[in-house]
Symmetry: C2
Subunit: 354 residues, 2 copies
């Protein structure tokens, strides 16, 4: 495999829509990027049939690997891990483990994907907990946030690791040499959140990361932070609340334009503008969350992703392969730990000198 070529294993069966979404998205990705090869993993007969509907057959850049089982959206992670060893998700991850693919994309259930990925691919040396990271639109561009639900009840050192991983991802993907890292907290002066967050704050101040301090919920979308770091519980709440508000606003906007003939006409006049607006904040363009901290690349697509959104998740996998994200995280983590240890040593000898 050339450095610039990416072979991506697609868990073709998972997600709310399975093959109906993954097949056309995969074909679109192959058309768009000449530097990728896709391996569709799932029930071979069904995949071949779905390909035939698009007048396609397997070829050099589009391989099919059979897997009999499917991880369902409501399968418990522990059950999926024990009982779904022949699933498309598991087989796709095995391809990555065995270096037959550089990355895996799945729209399957998050808990099962994280559990299987940890088990099959293992975490990077020194990483205690992998985290889920995604980009979201802001007033000025986009922001990456992690963790979004893989870890509930992390400690300060976990948050430090999340900060490093997010920072490496953004520096590579956005060619940003010093991503601004913020720690999600609340604003009450004397409370300032749980001890784990204050601990992470103290740790981050000692790092060479471009740490800008605490950020609040509304700061996420202002565009003045590149990486927002938080516990998985808080991140999940913030992400889903944000999605909920966006849907609610879009619902009321459509309703306002649909009230009468007059408002419908106004809507027709405004349609190109509304479409441009919608593209700017289209969550589908941000589909494809990274499972950071693993030895290999795994991208989680929204379960309900459509063809356009799933296509973007494949694009995310391609970018992360090109940028060798896990290797970069591993190197930067080793450097960071060395720096922190050195500081501790200096600190200790200073204390002894006093």
């Amino acid at each position: 495999m050339a450095a610039s070529h990416a072979t991506i294993a697609i868990d073709a069966m998972s997600g709310d829509h399975g093959l109906r979404v993954t097949i056309p998205a995969a074909l679109q990705a192959l058309k768009t990027w000449s530097d990728i090869t896709l391996v569709l993993v799932g029930r071979e007969a069904e995949i071949l049939e779905a390909l035939a509907e698009h007048n396609e057959t397997p070829n050099e850049r589009l391989r099919v690997v059979h897997a009999d089982q499917v991880v369902e959206m409501d399968d418990l992670p522990s059950k999926a891990l024990r009982q779904k060893r022949q699933s498309s998700m598991r087989v796709a991850l095995n391809l990555v483990k065995d270096d037959q693919a550089d990355a895996c994309v799945s729209a399957g259930n998050t808990g099962a994907l994280m559990a299987m990925s940890k088990f099959v691919l293992k975490t990077l040396p020194g990483i205690e907990r992998p985290a889920i990271c995604t980009a979201m639109p802001t007033m000025k561009g986009h922001v990456h946030m992690l963790d979004l639900g893989a870890n509930v009840g992390v400690d300060g050192e976990n948050l430090l690791q999340f900060a490093l991983m997010g920072s490496v991802l953004v520096s590579q993907l956005d060619d940003n040499p010093a991503p601004r890292v913020g720690l999600l907290n609340i604003g009450e002066e004397e409370i300032k959140g749980p001890e784990r967050i204050r601990h992470a704050h103290r740790l981050l101040l000692q790092t060479p990361l471009n740490y800008i301090g605490y950020v609040e919920g509304d700061d996420i979308f202002k565009g003045d932070t590149d990486v927002v770091v938080c516990d998985g519980f808080d991140g999940n709440i913030a992400l889903k609340a944000s999605e909920g508000v966006a849907k609610m606003i879009s619902f009321h906007l459509k309703k306002a334009f649909g009230r009468s003939l007059l408002t419908k006409l106004a809507g027709m006049v405004a349609l190109p503008v509304l479409r441009h607006f919608q593209q700017t904040i289209d969550p589908r363009r941000y589909n494809g969350a990274s499972l950071l901290g693993l030895r290999k690349i795994v991208i989680k697509s929204h379960g309900g992703a459509d063809e356009f959104a799933y296509f973007h998740a494949i694009g995310q996998a391609r970018l992360e392969v090109q940028k060798a994200i896990p290797q970069m995280i591993s190197e930067q983590l080793a450097q960071l730990m060395a720096t922190l240890e050195q500081q501790d040593t200096v600190h200790e000898s200073e204390q002894q000198a006093v």
Copy 2:
């Protein structure tokens, strides 16, 4: 005081804009509701001057009480409590304590207002921690959420009390005999959030409250829940993230319509529709958070509230006086506790019988 008449103490000096907002909002409130009396608390000379600008003087329904100090937005709660005993916030709360007013409205800093309110007015018997509760728009109407930042690190019983307080508030304000109560959590099947939430879940299942189970961040805005209960940290994150997204969307919407002459024209055609839409989700209409669990009524306005928003906070105070919210909470809490104890007794005797 007749039962239907409300005397409301206005902390006229606090908030980002002080008298510039509180005075016109107060005058508008007096014009709108003939069943209220307002007591403006703050520096008398400045208040009289501000009133004169509106050609107004104190009268039977508009009294002025002097207070020399102002609690600043960045005053630490503990400092405000010790050193600002002559502040407009503190004097306004004292009026409520001494039954010279039925409620207090303040746009001052949340931590200081909560600390002073607890100290001056005390909590209701049996309530461990008061909570901050506000309404927010949804797809179908509105939802109340609590706690929004007063309490970080609550336990299951605190969450149970929040559920009861929110339920009482909504049942009274919305004439809703059985508000649907949801517990904010994340969706991962095997994690299901911290133990405090699972404990609250078990407790809530035993109550006569209309408890509908766990809700996720995006459920808040669907309109299928009337009361969302959470820890103050989670609530604050969810609320602020939601505010941030709404501002970001509004920013991009304006930008899309402002791009060119053509889009500006489209915007003019769509203006009445956009205005109707904006009114539906206007956060100013929802201004006025309740500090629930105190013996008296305290309403917290957004610090940055404008005249229209502050007017709504006064309206919220008026409604809560009319509905006697603290008394209702106190009664319902006593009933709930009796029910839970009875169940425990039955449960114990059943166990003994076995």
